[in-house]
Symmetry: C2
Subunit: 202 residues, 2 copies
């Protein structure tokens, strides 16, 4: 197998190394999101990417390494969350809802979020990434907010995030699944507001 002449794929066009790697990464994200870790195979990913399965191994090594590489969220998303500590405190819930829903609606981020949730039962790293989504990134925000019980607030807000992603994208329950993003932001904002900065009640 030569890296300088990878399989051209379904289109028949020749692709460079970077494009081929990106096509495999996209196909892998899509497979993990649609069928989860166990059912996504080198073969199914290669077929979706229009390449030989050996090329997937060549670029990414093991399935674990492939998952690790393609299931990283854009670092801008976590940084954007922490940055929300700036701005009016009585609108923090809305700003968090906007960033979260924008993340959901970003096609690559959506594939990654759904792929993590679908794979969480099958692969330890997926479970760890969901734990991080539930508490890790939001914990950086609550730590910066100067509130009581920042760890509890982060995990309760994280429950909203993964619960909403599970309901909207994995099991697709209506009216959530087809709700326009602006309406979803309006509905989530007051819950984030209370969980992040208002009295917790316990």
């Amino acid at each position: 197998m030569s890296m300088s002449s990878p399989s051209g794929g379904r289109s028949g066009r020749r692709r460079g190394t970077t494009q081929t790697r990106e096509a495999i990464a996209l196909a892998a994200q899509t497979q993990f999101a649609e069928v989860g870790y166990d059912r996504a195979t080198f073969r199914s990913i290669a077929t979706a990417a229009g390449v030989d399965p050996a090329l997937v191994v060549h670029f990414f090594g093991s399935k674990e390494q492939l998952f690790h590489e393609v299931m990283k969220l854009p670092s801008g998303l976590a940084d954007a969350l922490v940055g929300l500590v700036q701005g009016p405190r009585d609108e923090i819930g809305r700003r968090v809802a906007e960033v979260i829903v924008a993340g959901f609606e970003n096609p690559a981020a959506q594939r990654i979020i759904v792929g993590r949730i679908r794979s969480a039962s099958q692969h330890p790293e997926a479970a760890e990434l969901v734990r991080q989504a539930v508490a890790g990134d939001l914990a950086r925000l609550t730590a910066a907010l100067d509130v009581d019980r920042p760890d509890v607030r982060a995990v309760l807000a994280g429950v909203q995030v993964v619960g909403t992603a599970l309901a909207r994208y994995v099991v697709r329950v209506e009216p959530l699944a087809s709700m326009p993003a602006p309406q979803l932001i309006e509905l989530l904002a007051p819950t984030f507001q209370r969980l992040l900065v208002e009295p917790l009640g316990a």
Copy 2:
């Protein structure tokens, strides 16, 4: 294979038909909860139940039928939710939190809830059962509450339920995973209160 003399299992004791069926059902629930639909096999379930795999087939037929039979929530739980419409409206959130958390803490119900969530990506009926958990049972309650947008309220409350179950039991994120039930009830009650009967804000 004779029904009148089922395998005695690990213990070496002879068990009656009912006890054997119950041992298989318990083992199946546990396997679905721990490893999900795909990885739970007739063989792994039979081993856990201490019976011959053929006996699992004998009692339950296909894996789909087995899942269908053992993943039914006790009907009392859904009925208990709807019954909560009785009583003070300004405490409905707390009563819902109490019933949900009591369900979580019931070992059989916990196996079923976790088994459904872990299997939701792998088996259409599991996905349907999670959809039902997100919206179906709570929708009967919100319909009885005489509120605006009962369907939206039901699904937002359902997001709390499955998000909390996912975070507490599947990926086990702290401090939620080891939080005592009474504290969890205190934390969930105000969110349910707002989502069920207070202004939604959108």
